[in-house]
Amino acid sequence: MVEKVAPVRRDFDRMDQIPEMVFRVLQMFNFLIILYITLISSHALWGYVHEGTALEFLLRAGRVPPINWIIPIAGLLFFGCLEILLSVECNNHPELVCKLTLEFLVAIGISYVTGFGYTGMVVLLLADIMRYTIDWKKRALYILAVSAFSLLINGNVLQKWIDVIPLDIVWSYYRADHLLRFLGILNILDLINIYVFIFYMVILALSQMSEKERILVLNNELKEANIKLEEYASESARMAETRERNRLAREIHDTLGHSLTGIITGIEACIMLMDIAPEATKEQLRAIAEVARTGIIDVRHSVKALHADALESMDIEDALHKLVDSTTRSTGVEISMNITTDLSHFNQDEGDVIYRVVQESITNAIRHGKATKINISIDRIDGELHIIISDNGVGCSDVKSGFGLHHMKERLDMLGGHLEYTGNLGFTIHAVIPIRWGNEN
């Protein structure tokens, strides 16, 4: 079982890209240094032949150098090779070790063409290793390996096996002052290379630290959110319970209240009529029975689904007409209804509210206002549905927001609508519901 290493991260945000950018700069810099060294070496070798000091050079060098133009080309080939290897991402330790070994060999090649005068490309290998998130023990081993390699190529150890002309002998073609300048530039480049590497390491450490911090903060936030969510869930359950209880109460009031009001009014009429017109009374009682039956059906529905009654099976407009019709028949109150807009587009919940508002208003007008005439108008004005129910009852100068009005308000609030009422001349209720489908179109 091979242990995995996390691959180099690619999903950087802007902050994380800085180490990667510095790494690129480091690579570019090494490229320039190698180009610098190999071009100068190449020119020096050309110069020896050109000035007729080849024999002297060979005596000093002790071996035949490659042809002058080969040196920069080989240097660039080796460097390109190193670049490709650096771009290869490894998934586990054996792969990483293989890659590092290949990189070592290529680095030896680069040292070879630069006459072991430049070994700074080792920092590239180190920088590459640092990009992997490896645990510290393993990372220390890798760092140790790269350092050992660096010592190997710096410490004249490899020269025992690899026959190479030292850079200073190749460059001794130049006059002493020029040579000093060239070597000085090389030293400065070498130093800058190290500085860029240190900068890279610092940036990398900082970015890894800030990443850890960010993860910590995010973790805390997540915990808090979780607690809130739990609280919210229990609250929500409690609220749902309350809402359901309220709805139940509303349903009972709406269905039973309406039916019972009709029945009471009808029975009071029957009591008065019974002696005068027994036939009419009979008729009246039949109507009352009808109301009671509707009531019982409503209750059954409510119990069964806790859901609206007539609406369930029919369209809202028919339901309203049926409501008006049955009320007129059972109570003898004259009700006129004027609907100027198409109500079929309203959803179930909106239909429910419209129906309940009308139903409740009629009930209130008969029960509390003793009205004999009720006017209902339903219109659409500017994307809103306006329901106005007015009666000729006693009205109410000081409206106590009774049970019915309170429920009506609640229902309208849920749809984003509102309710106005006045009890000066009879009683007028004005309900407004925003039309959702109308706005969409």
Binding site: L55, I84, V88, L102, G109, V113
Partner: protein, 448 residues
């Protein structure tokens, strides 16, 4: 086209390995081994004037004839060389060819350059070719000439032409002073005695104007006394041995005769010096009819073997012009054949006596009747081949190693310093032994 493959890791690793190998091939020069076409052009590095420094107008004659022979035997091979390179520029020219990667397949190599070029790895190690070739016979050469192509125990070159170091004698002075020609086995004592006798003021001006010897160097003295300073690999030297001390003491004695006057070659050519070591090639050149008036014409002169030291023999050094193969050659087999033709072919080696001043590296050629006749004709004297023969038999060669030339320079400095200090030679030897060994050690560790 689906490009995802080119982004895979496997592809990237593969391509980087290929690039690295390509870079390695071109930096190490191994790419030259990859040959796309079998071009059979053999290039030869030659210099256009005479190795022995005496112009005779036959500069490229032998090589041209050899090329004709070779192309006749191998019609599919073309042999080319660049003419017009002088011996003085030849080493530099070779170095430039090396650095430009245009090294000839086969090239002449000057005696002084051999260890340098062998050291930098420009010469092909011939041991494998020698072992593989049943027709190649190392014993056909003079042994010393053959050994002069060996470096650190391996053979890197074949000898082409050589000349032993010999002692030139001004016979006119000897006759005037009633001294007999030294014998072939003469010693330092004889040498010193003659020198002592002839060193004098002949004109009565109070200034010595006739001398015993010039240019008899520490190298000649060490050789004569059988000193072998360095070990095979050049890691250490033994400068404290008695032979070295004797040689230095002898040099001191010789120099003492001249009362501080530094005798030069000019004195010899003016006829005022009895002995001067010179290469045999010079004897041949100036003894030949057409050049005999140019130099040394005011007196009669002859040559003998070098004098023997008390612990040595009549040893003399051998200067050899060799032929080597480039390490980078792609025509190894043909190059080897051509080298063999130049160095082992009797007819071509015999041409050395026609067109050059050295002697053939093959004893069978040098000792042939025709050669003896030729030399006699050239020099106009009945040349005693025995002297040449005995000189060739007693030629020696020091083991060569990395930095051999630098080491020799250091020894020269040491000897000069001891001679100049006039203090106890043995003490100085011990002090300089330390210095020389340190020098060798630092040089070998630097080179390894």
């Amino acid at each position: 086209m689906d490009l995802t493959f080119f982004k895979t890791r496997r592809f990237r690793v593969g391509i980087s390995v290929i690039i690295a190998l390509a870079a390695l091939l071109i930096t190490t020069g191994q790419y030259r081994r990859i040959r796309f076409s079998k071009d059979m052009v053999l290039t030869v590095g030659v210099f256009s004037d005479n190795y022995w420094g005496i112009q005779n107008g036959h500069a490229n004659k032998i090589i041209d004839n050899a090329i004709l022979r070779f192309q006749h035997e191998h019609p599919d091979v073309k042999v080319e060389y660049e003419s017009g390179i002088m011996k003085a520029d030849y080493s530099e020219w070779l170095s430039e060819q090396m650095m430009n990667d245009t090294m000839p397949d086969v090239f002449f190599i000057l005696g002084g350059d051999f260890s340098t070029f062998a050291q930098i790895g420009a010469l092909k190690d011939l041991d494998n070719l020698i072992k593989r070739d049943p027709f190649f016979d190392p014993s056909a050469y003079y042994k010393t000439a053959y050994d002069s192509g060996s470096y650190a125990g391996r053979q890197y070159a074949l000898p082409y032409e050589c000349a032993p170091n010999m002692m030139f004698v001004n016979k006119t002075i000897l006759d005037r002073e009633h001294i007999a020609m030294p014998a072939r086995d003469w010693t330092w004592n004889d040498f010193y005695e003659i020198c002592r006798k002839v060193t004098k003021d002949t004109e009565g001006t109070g200034i010595i104007n006739q001398f015993g010897t010039c240019n008899y160097t520490w190298n000649d003295a060490f050789d004569a006394n059988g000193v072998s300073l360095f070990d095979e690999k050049g890691r250490s030297c033994d400068f404290t041995v008695r032979e070295v001390g004797d040689a230095i003491a002898f040099l001191e004695k010789l120099e003492g005769l001249n009362s501080g006057y530094s005798v030069s070659e000019r004195d010899f050519s003016q006829g005022n010096v009895v002995f001067q070591p010179m290469l045999f090639s010079e004897y041949r050149a100036y003894k030949s009819q057409e050049l005999s008036i140019k130099k040394y014409s005011d007196f009669e002169w002859e040559c003998v073997t070098m004098p023997a030291g008390p612990s040595g023999d009549n040893y003399s050094r051998l200067d050899t012009l060799s032929i080597a193969m480039s390490e980078e050659t792609s025509n190894q087999e043909m190059a080897w054949e051509f080298m063999k033709l130049l160095t082992q072919d009797q007819a071509i080696q015999a041409e050395i006596f026609d067109y050059s001043d050295g002697i053939s590296v093959l004893p069978s050629v040098t000792q042939s009747e025709e050669t003896i006749k030729q030399i006699a004709e050239d020099t106009g004297t009945a040349f005693n081949l025995d002297i040449l023969e005995s000189a060739m038999e007693k030629t020696i060669i020091q083991p060569r190693f990395r930095g051999y030339d630098n080491a020799l320079e250091e020894v020269g400095i040491a000897v000069r310093s001891i001679l100049d200090s006039k203090s106890n030679i043995q003490m100085e030897q011990i002090i300089w032994n330390r210095t020389l060994n340190n020098f060798l050690k630092s040089m070998q560790s630097q080179n390894s």
